[in-house]
C-alpha cells in the first residue's frame, strides 16, 4: 500500500498528496546524506542561539547538526513533514527532552548568551524562562484560577494572595481569556471549550513571565475561530516574548511568523524571512514542500 503510493508519487509528482506522510516513505526518494542549511540561520538580536545540535533517540539520529537562532521579539515558525524532528528540536530549547527515556542531546544552546546544556544548569528556572504550550490543551484538573496560579506558586513569584490574584488576572487578560472566564474562576479548567483551554494553557505559560514561549502545533486541535484568536494572541505576545511555533499549516506560518525554518528528516534545510521563504524558496526541498508537491 505504502510502496504503491510512493511509486505512484515518483511517477506523478504533481499528484502527490500535500498531506503528512511518514518519513520512511520519503527516504526512498531522497538521499540520507546530511544536508547543510541555506538561508540566514543567525538573527541580529538573538535570544536563543543553537549551534550544531544533535539529538538521538537510542540509535535513531532525530536531529542532525542543526544551528538556528531565535530572535528577540520574533515569531519563528518551524515547518516540515511529519516526523522530521520539529517537536524534538523544540523540546531541546527548554530541555523537555530530559524527561524522555533514551533521548540524548548534544551541541550548544545559548539563552541570552548562557549555555543551557551545561550539566550544572537547573532546569527549574530554565523552564520558567522558556515556557511551553502543547499540541493538545492540557489544563490541570483544577480551577481556572489554580491553573494559572500554578506556575507563580511553584516559582514563588507572588508574596501575597493579592499579588497572586493580580498575576492571574493580568495573565488571563494577556491571553484574551479574561472576559470569558472572569465570572467563573473557581470552575474547573477542564470544563472550558478546546479553544478556551488552549488560551488557558497560554495564560498559564505567561503567568511566570517567560522570555521565550515554545508552542507545538497549538492550534491543531482547534476550530478556525479559536485558531484566529490564538494567532492574534501570538501576534500580541510577540511584543514581549520570543515565540517558537511548530505548525503544519503554511498559511498559519505565513500569518504569524517573521522567520520560518524548514526541517526535513532531521536536517534544517532552509531558514529565512517568512515573506521570502514562501515567495522565493532557495532549496528544492523547501519549494517542493510549500508548493504542496509532497507532504
Amino acid at each position: 500500500m505504502e510502496a504503491q503510493a510512493s511509486q505512484f508519487m515518483a511517477e506523478n509528482p504533481e499528484h502527490a498528496p500535500a498531506r503528512r506522510r511518514p518519513a520512511e516513505a520519503d527516504s526512498a526518494t531522497y538521499d540520507r546524506e546530511h544536508r547543510g542549511t541555506v538561508g540566514e540561520v543567525r538573527s541580529e538580536v538573538p535570544r536563543m542561539r543553537c549551534t550544531a545540535v544533535n539529538v538521538h533517540y537510542g540509535d535513531k539520529h532525530a536531529i542532525r547538526d542543526v544551528s538556528l537562532d531565535v530572535g528577540k521579539n520574533e515569531v519563528l515558525a518551524m515547518i516540515g513533514p511529519s516526523g522530521c524532528g520539529k517537536s524534538t528540536f523544540l523540546r531541546c530549547l527548554n530541555r523537555m527532552n530530559d524527561t524522555v527515556v533514551g533521548c540524548r542531546v548534544s551541541g550548544e544552546i545559548l539563552l541570552d548568551g548562557k549555555d543551557i546544556m551545561a550539566p550544572d544548569v537547573d532546569v527549574v528556572p530554565l523552564r520558567a524562562r522558556v515556557g511551553m504550550v502543547f499540541q493538545k490543551p492540557n489544563p490541570f484538573p483544577k480551577s481556572i484560577f489554580e491553573n494559572v496560579a500554578f506556575g507563580p506558586r511553584i516559582h514563588g513569584l507572588a508574596q501575597s494572595q493579592a499579588e497572586l490574584e493580580e498575576i492571574v488576572v493580568s495573565s488571563l487578560q494577556k491571553a484574551n481569556l479574561w472576559g470569558e472566564v472572569k465570572d467563573r474562576l473557581a470552575h474547573p479548567g477542564t470544563g472550558l471549550s478546546g479553544g478556551q483551554q488552549q488560551r488557558l494553557c497560554i495564560a498559564r505559560a505567561i503567568a511566570i513571565q517567560p522570555e521565550v514561549i515554545l508552542m507545538d502545533e497549538p492550534c491543531s486541535a482547534l476550530d478556525p475561530i479559536s485558531t484566529a484568536k490564538i494567532e492574534q494572541l501570538i501576534d500580541e505576545l510577540r511584543r514581549n516574548y520570543s515565540i517558537c511555533i511548530v505548525t503544519h499549516s503554511m498559511q498559519q506560518a505565513a500569518r504569524v511568523s517573521q522567520r520560518t525554518a524548514y526541517f526535513h528528516l532531521g536536517d534544517l534545510i532552509e531558514v529565512g524571512e517568512t515573506d521570502r521563504i514562501f515567495v522565493k524558496p532557495q532549496h528544492q526541498l523547501t519549494e517542493d514542500y510549500i508548493t504542496g508537491r509532497f507532504g
Binding site: T99, P125, R127, N138, F140, I154
Partner: protein, 461 residues
C-alpha cells in the same frame, strides 16, 4: 450414577456425528456451490450438533437431580407399613441402612427380611432408571440431530440460529452465577430474620455485651447469651484501622515510586515481587502473625514496661496491613498511570520538579481513584478472617487499646459455627446475622468505591 461419564461421552460422540453429517448435507444441498448457502457449512454442522446434545444434556441433568428422591419414595412405599410410617429421623436411618446394603457397606444393625427386600428393590429401581436414562437421552440426541439435519436447506439461516443458541448458553451461565448469589443472600437474610425473632434487632446492633453462650440446661451457670454486637464492630474497626494505617501509606508510596520514579527495569522486577505478597495464602499470614509478630510485639512492649496481650489487635492489624499493601499499591499504580502524560508534560514544562508535579498535579488528579482503591482495600480488610482468627483472639472487649486482644465479626462467625450446636439455636443463627451485616457493609463500600473510580475514569475519556 456411575455410568454418567460413559453416557456423556456417547452423547458427545453422537453430537460430533451430527456435526459431520450436518456439514456434509450442507455441501450436498448446495450442489457444490457454497456461495448459495446462507451460512458457512460448519454452521449447519454446528446447528445439528447443538440440537443433538443440548436437549439430551438438559434431560440428563434433570434426571440426575430427581432420580434419587423418586427412587427413595418408591422404596418407602414398598416398605412394610409399620416401617414406612416411622418418624422422619428414624426413617432416615432405615434408608441409610438400605443404601449401605446396596453398595455393600457395613450396616448398623442385622438386616431383617423387609430391609433386604427393600434393598433389592432399590437396586432394581436403580438399574431400571439407568437403562431408561440411556435410552431416553440417546434417543433424544438422535431425534434432535435428525430434526436439525432435516431442516438444512441452502436458505436456512443456521448462522443466526447458532448465534442464538450460543447466546442462550451464555445467558444461562450468567443466570446461574447471579441466582446462586441471590440464593446465598436470601438464605442469609432468612436465617437472620429467624435470629431477630429470638434476639431483638436493636439489642443486636446496639448492645454492648457479647457472650453468645446459651444455657443448654436451665441450671447451667455463666451462660447468659448476650448478643450485643457493638464490641465486634469496634474490634473490626480497630483492626481495620491499624491495617489501613500500614497499608495506605506504604502501598500508596510504593505505587508512586513505581509509577513515577522507577526505571522500566526496576518496575519490571518490583511490581511482580509486590504482587507475590498478594499470592501468599492468608493462613500463612495468620500463623506469621500469631507465632512471630505477636510475641515480638509483646516482648518489645515489655522492654518499655507496656503490658501487651499475647494476642493483640496490633499484631493482627499490622500483618493484615502488610497483606493489603499489594492491593492498595497495584490499584493506585493503575490509577496513577491513567493520569494522562500531557498533564505531566504540562507541569514539567512549567518548571515543576518531579515531586511538585506529583503532589500538585498527579496526586490530585488521581485522588478519586485512590480513594476508590482504599475503600476496596477496607472492604477486603473487614472481610478478612484467617489472620484475625489466628492472631486477634476471641475476647469480645470494647476497647480502643491496640495492645489488648479484641475480636472481629468474622472471627465470631467462625467460633459460632464450629462446635456442637443445634442448627436453630440463636447462637448459630447469630452467625447469619453477623454475616448479613458484613455483607451489607462490604457491599456498600464496594459500590461506593466503584462509583468513585468510574466517575473518575469518565473525566479523561
Amino acid at each position: 450414577m456411575t455410568q454418567t461419564p460413559l453416557l456423556i461421552v456417547l452423547l458427545l460422540t453422537l453430537s460430533s456425528l451430527a456435526y459431520h453429517f450436518g456439514r456434509k448435507r450442507a455441501f450436498a444441498v448446495s450442489g457444490g456451490r457454497i456461495r448459495t448457502l446462507h451460512s458457512l457449512p460448519a454452521y449447519y454442522g454446528l446447528y445439528a450438533a447443538l440440537w443433538a446434545v443440548i436437549p439430551a444434556l438438559l434431560v440428563l441433568a434433570l434426571w440426575l437431580a430427581f432420580e434419587d428422591s423418586v427412587i427413595t419414595r418408591l422404596v418407602i412405599a414398598s416398605l412394610p407399613p409399620e416401617t414406612a410410617t416411622l418418624a422422619p429421623s428414624r426413617l432416615n436411618l432405615v434408608l441409610n441402612d438400605i443404601r449401605n446394603l446396596v453398595v455393600g457397606n457395613i450396616v448398623s444393625s442385622e438386616p431383617d427380611a423387609a430391609i433386604l427386600a427393600a434393598a433389592d428393590r432399590y437396586r432394581d429401581l436403580r438399574g431400571i432408571s439407568t437403562t431408561a436414562l440411556f435410552a431416553v437421552t440417546l434417543g433424544l440426541a438422535a431425534i434432535g440431530g435428525w430434526f436439525a439435519y432435516g431442516r438444512i436447506r441452502p436458505e436456512y439461516r443456521s448462522r443466526n440460529a447458532v448465534e442464538r443458541i450460543l447466546k442462550g448458553i451464555l445467558i444461562t451461565c450468567s443466570t446461574v452465577a447471579i441466582l446462586t448469589t441471590v440464593g446465598i443472600v436470601l438464605s442469609v437474610l432468612f436465617e437472620s430474620v429467624r435470629f431477630f425473632q429470638a434476639v431483638p434487632i436493636t439489642d443486636f446492633l446496639f448492645g454492648l455485651d457479647w457472650s453468645p453462650q446459651i444455657a443448654i440446661r436451665a441450671d447451667q451457670a455463666g451462660s447468659s447469651g448476650a448478643f450485643g454486637a457493638v464490641p465486634l464492630f469496634a474490634g473490626t474497626m480497630l483492626i481495620t484501622l491499624i491495617a489501613m494505617s500500614v497499608a495506605v501509606p506504604i502501598g500508596l508510596m510504593s505505587a508512586i515510586y513505581l509509577a513515577e520514579y522507577a526505571s522500566p527495569r526496576v518496575r519490571a522486577i518490583a511490581k511482580p515481587l509486590l504482587e507475590v505478597l498478594a499470592g501468599i495464602p492468608t493462613v500463612v499470614y495468620g500463623f506469621f502473625a500469631a507465632l512471630t509478630v505477636a510475641p515480638f510485639i509483646r516482648e518489645s512492649g515489655g522492654l518499655f514496661g507496656l503490658d501487651i496481650a499475647s494476642e493483640s489487635a496490633l499484631a493482627a492489624g499490622l500483618v493484615m496491613g502488610v497483606m493489603i499493601i499489594p492491593f492498595v499499591s497495584s490499584l493506585s499504580d493503575d490509577v496513577i498511570n491513567a493520569v494522562p502524560q500531557s498533564l505531566r508534560d504540562g507541569a514539567y514544562g512549567m518548571g515543576a520538579t518531579q515531586s511538585e508535579t506529583i503532589r500538585r498535579v498527579i496526586f490530585p488528579a488521581a485522588l478519586p481513584g485512590i480513594v476508590g482503591a482504599v475503600l476496596l482495600a477496607v472492604s477486603r480488610a473487614i472481610g478478612e478472617t484467617m489472620i484475625v482468627v489466628m492472631a486477634a483472639g476471641l475476647a469480645a472487649k470494647l476497647t480502643a487499646n491496640p495492645f489488648e486482644a479484641v475480636t472481629t465479626v468474622t472471627v465470631q462467625i467462625v467460633t459460632l459455627l464450629v462446635g456442637d450446636q443445634e442448627f436453630d439455636s440463636p447462637k448459630t443463627l447469630a452467625a447469619f446475622a453477623l454475616g448479613l451485616v458484613l455483607f451489607f457493609v462490604t457491599l456498600a463500600l464496594n459500590v461506593l468505591a466503584l462509583y468513585i473510580v468510574r466517575k473518575y475514569r469518565e473525566q479523561y475519556e
